[in-house]
Symmetry: C2
């Protein structure tokens, strides 16, 4: 596929594949200019660093296909050189251990997104599977301030309702829900209430729509039409500018990995999370988005439900690029970042 540097970028703001040259080639075939990849779930700091070492080796070995992503400018460089810029993120805060100084260390190592909690209570906030959500903790408030200072984005994809609303309120800079859908469309525990989505939009935050079957109406049988109609409805609620994609693609991963995500080292029992004893493994992706070669399908589906060409481009990556521009690194002024107003759908 020929790349032109003037076209808007295509960005997927959450993937956790079993990385390989095949997948990097598929990203190029799908015209993906940037991807935010999970580099740790329950890892310690040292284990996370080992995962970055593995990425460094990939960057060295596949330098014609991928490059390290640290800034919005890197997305533009990737577009110009026909590569995919890879941004690092964490799905739990366990790599910062109990040490706030590690927030800046993570930033220096290239981490740009961090969830304050996965499904459980963390040192910082409550996850969406806890019976009680007591909101942002004392350390959580300190870590939010430090993440704001260095420009590491707060991600509340797996957090409980109260913790999410408080993070939006406490953070001086817009936050992200990198991979989730509206609960009004598919009432999964991981999907988000209209209250959360409205507060997120008011604060200038971003929602990345998930294509992970447990977050989709009819799961693996979800249709492109249903998915895109949901996007259009969410645009009415939040404004087009606040929307992107965070596919949660876990291509080629063995089922042992989804067990690691859910169980980590916190229990000796099996926790099925969004799955069940009968469906314990990774579910099949929906037919309209099997892997990175299917990005064009999404674009077509969005056009068919009435989005204008510029709106499709915004949802497919332009909005994430603006968010990257504003969010990574220290804020341009020392004053609190103004909250962006919600753009109306055209």
């Amino acid at each position: 596929m020929a790349q032109t540097s003037n076209r808007p970028p295509r960005i997927d703001n959450l993937q956790y594949c079993k990385w390989s040259e095949d997948i990097f080639r598929q990203m190029r075939q799908g015209g993906l200019d940037a991807v935010h990849v999970t580099i740790a779930y329950h890892e310690t700091f040292r284990e996370m660093v080992r995962n970055i070492e593995a990425w460094n080796l990939r960057f060295e070995r596949h330098s014609g296909l991928i490059m390290p992503g640290r800034s919005a400018e890197d997305v533009r460089t990737a577009q110009e050189t026909g590569r995919t810029a890879v941004f690092f993120g964490l799905q739990t805060p366990s790599p910062i251990e109990d040490d706030i100084g590690l927030v800046e260390i993570l930033y220096t190592l290239g981490v740009r997104f961090m969830q304050l909690t996965y499904n459980n209570q963390s040192l910082l906030a409550a996850g969406c599977y806890e019976a009680e959500d007591s909101g942002i903790t004392r350390m959580g408030r300190q870590v939010i301030r430090e993440m704001n200072r260095v420009g590491l984005v707060i991600d509340m994809s797996h957090s409980g309702e109260r913790s999410t609303l408080e993070a939006i309120e406490i953070s001086e800079r817009p936050i992200a829900i990198t991979h989730a859908n509206p609960a009004s469309w598919m009432p999964a525990r991981r999907n988000k209430s209209d209250d959360v989505l409205r507060a997120l939009a008011r604060s200038g935050g971003m929602l990345g729509f998930s294509l992970y079957p447990h977050h989709l109406k009819d799961k693996s049988h979800c249709t492109l039409e249903s998915f895109c109609a949901m996007v259009a409805q969410t645009a009415e609620l939040m404004g087009v500018d606040r929307l992107g994609i965070g596919s949660d693609l876990c291509q080629d991963q063995p089922d042992s990995v989804v067990e690691w995500m859910r169980v980590g080292r916190w229990t000796k029992e099996i926790d099925y999370g969004e799955g069940s004893r009968e469906q314990a493994g990774f579910p099949a992706m929906p037919a309209f988005f099997r892997d990175n070669r299917d990005w064009e399908n999404l674009g077509e589906g969005l056009r068919k439900v009435g989005f204008a060409a510029n709106e499709v481009s915004a949802i497919m990556g332009g909005n994430w690029l603006h968010f990257y521009d504003a969010s990574f690194g220290p804020a341009q002024s020392h004053a609190p970042t103004p909250r962006a107003s919600t753009g109306a759908m055209a």
Copy 2:
């Protein structure tokens, strides 16, 4: 002291003080534009990261006096903004553990110099206190190549003679001896033979003259005249372009720190290193260089032994700046870096 951005920079390529606002202010009084500081001796990777966290806090709290140094350009920025740029270095390779992937991680975290060994045998090379020096190890060869690739400078200040000569030979890019003096002037185990100094100069490497009393003729009683005459003699041997300062200033450190340097965790006995049972602690600095306020003394001393003004500037920092320009980060071409020829003293 008024700063002008056109004057050549003043650089000290080795200090390990007990850092404080007082010392940062003395650096400004002495007009020091950049300093290479030791951030680890026998620390593990995680312990070294904690030391970087402590530096991040200093950068945040004393942002008017110091700034992180990552590139030669940062020295120029420090000059223009009246601050001292702080570059990180390691005196042993223990923070890379047994893991070559940590070399690039160190670089990303800002480390710019690493000794392949301290006084003892390491996984990479032999130190100057070992009875046998079997040269660069198998892992050492791999790590040298990786350090060359990412642009992390090899420092052989504490290494044995054979290991040092082999590192000079094996490295595709010039190396440094950041803090030592010629053994012909002061026959300390840590000082370097003329063979080493000649090979270092031929390869385009740098020698940083030490002001640590155990490396000085007459130790704490060394005179400025004797020190500067030694510099002039070394310029005859190596060429002025290969010379800089690496004072080894350990200001305000308690004697427990010199014990940590010497003993680490490798023995339960006391090893006195360059000291002795009678003189186990830090020796008193020579009268002409008590701390960072005495840089002007050095300049005067060098002029008095016959160096021209531009040569004094080169030794006081200009040469290190050129070395930083060529040495930090990936090499400009993929071809091996040409070895610089030795400049003759004017």
